[in-house]
Symmetry: C2
């Protein structure tokens, strides 16, 4: 039976492309049969990327029972497959903080503090002296541009930029920034999308000192695109909070050109927002200047605030 390579819930482009790339690399480096899968359907941005480079969307798998697993782009149980303890994690490739996943057996882990899992995977291709296939190289560079908001995010490192340069050469892409803008326009498209899908497009639950905290993010090229949808999104947040038994649900509406985020807030304890960001909620939201990265600029201050 094939090992499965799988990213986090509500898959983003990095999670989808990392699963595809790691599967390719492990086949070639170790001769192992690895199948890329995903916990859900690909979002419009990922579909654009896969179509552009002629790659197939991964099959959907949501349960770990009896599987050998390579986890990509996450190490949090709440973002992972159901019944993870009934499968065996054989490897982890990630670029986030270390979460609460544990294993029973020794494993392989490639985790770097860079902007994108695909940057780690480029390093692994180099380490194992395996060539990145042309279509996978194209998709990987898009994943890096997506995760780093075209190099603007504070999570972006030199390693990410170098990886994009090298991958662009392999993929034969001469102007990757214009592909990036095209991709973010696809990502910004909200018309006709049900509110629920919009909230879930990039939504993650975190365990913060025992409290369930959901944080979603929508990145757009111009925040005004979202103005007509704020009330509908807030109503969806209320539903998600109730259904999930969450302490808090936050939604970052990120303007990648203005380089900041309006955060819609729904919480049992509004003081955590002030503790975390030194600003009070006005109405239903707070403007966070310069905040582009949930991972680096939102999760750590909230974790501190929830600690007490």
């Amino acid at each position: 039976m094939a090992i499965i390579a799988v990213g986090h819930k509500n898959p983003d482009t990095d999670t989808i492309v990392s699963a595809i790339a790691v599967a390719d690399l492990y086949k070639k480096a170790y001769g192992k049969d690895v199948k890329p899968v995903a916990q859900g359907a690909v979002n419009p941005e990922s579909k654009f990327v896969l179509d552009k480079f002629g790659l197939a969307a991964p099959e959907i798998v949501t349960d770990a029972t009896g599987q050998q697993i390579i986890l990509v782009d996450h190490t949090d149980l709440s973002q992972s497959l159901a019944n993870l303890d009934k499968g065996e994690i054989v490897a982890v490739v990630d670029h986030h903080k270390l979460g609460d996943v544990t294993t029973t057996n020794p494993l392989e882990m490639w985790v770097w503090p860079v902007g994108c899992s695909c940057t780690v995977i480029k390093g692994m291709y180099d380490f194992f002296k395996v060539e990145v296939p042309k279509p996978i190289a194209g998709a990987m560079l898009c994943a890096i541009l997506s995760d780093t908001v075209m190099f603007k995010s504070p999570t972006c490192t030199d390693a990410d930029k170098k990886a994009v340069d090298a991958l662009a050469k392999i993929a034969g892409v001469s102007d990757y920034m214009s592909i990036g803008v095209e991709m973010f326009k696809v990502k910004s498209a909200v018309e006709g999308t049900p509110m629920k899908d919009l909230l879930n497009r990039d939504y993650k639950d975190f365990d913060m000192s025992g409290k369930k905290v959901g944080i979603g993010q929508l990145e757009v090229v111009d925040l005004s695109i979202l103005t007509p949808y704020k009330d509908g999104l807030y109503a969806e947040m209320e539903k998600a909070k109730k259904e999930g038994g969450n302490h808090s649900v936050f939604l970052l509406l990120t303007d990648i050109m203005k380089e900041g985020s309006e955060m819609l807030c729904l919480t049992d304890d509004p003081s955590v927002v002030e503790k975390a960001f030194g600003k009070k909620i006005e109405g239903k939201s707070v403007w966070l200047d310069g905040v582009l990265s949930r991972k680096k600029q939102v999760v750590p201050p909230f974790e501190k605030a929830f600690k007490g």
Copy 2:
């Protein structure tokens, strides 16, 4: 302030040498000031290795408060520094199963399913194209011989053997196996050692489904060396169980020549031993044929047995 590199409690040779080697590598690869430290004094085997290659024993540090930390050779909170959540883990280098350590920030992790953390570190030196200093190469090869019981342990991989070959060349060591035998003779020496020190020489507490389970190991070149000490060791295990509030304390008396272990057992539920190994405790112990590795042959079956 320097970053500290630190291994697990009751440091063994791999933990000591990994801290020293990682500190050297991070200085050279990243230009960072890293200081190797340890959670306790070096054991006789490690002292032999450090003396042989002219290396100093690391300073003792037991609290993480306010420190930036590189964790080596473990990811279990119970084996780590006190107040780990009051420091910041910036990197992890290990070869064990993934434990319950988590972080608030993205980090670097190098974890491979090989016989010794020093094998991973040899791979890192290669990756960063940094030369291993001669004395550190000598100590690293001893750590690998120690952790893999001179390649006999089932945890030993081809990567471990290749690393030893390469490190021996760098260290100018022509007959590393005879150094290995010398080292294991030092390790086997028990005369004059207080029982408490003997139990603690390589002792680790694990959290198994909410139960505290201590597992120690003594490796000797001939099990009969330990016959006069069994009662004294058992009495120490009783003390440790009481003081630590443990559910169980096990001590592996490993005969590296016969390739098996007598496991002294002290537990609130003797059925876990039968569940884990299919053998009943006779008197105070059970003989486990072919069992040399706590990590690979003892911890996983116990974890399964404790799960129910």
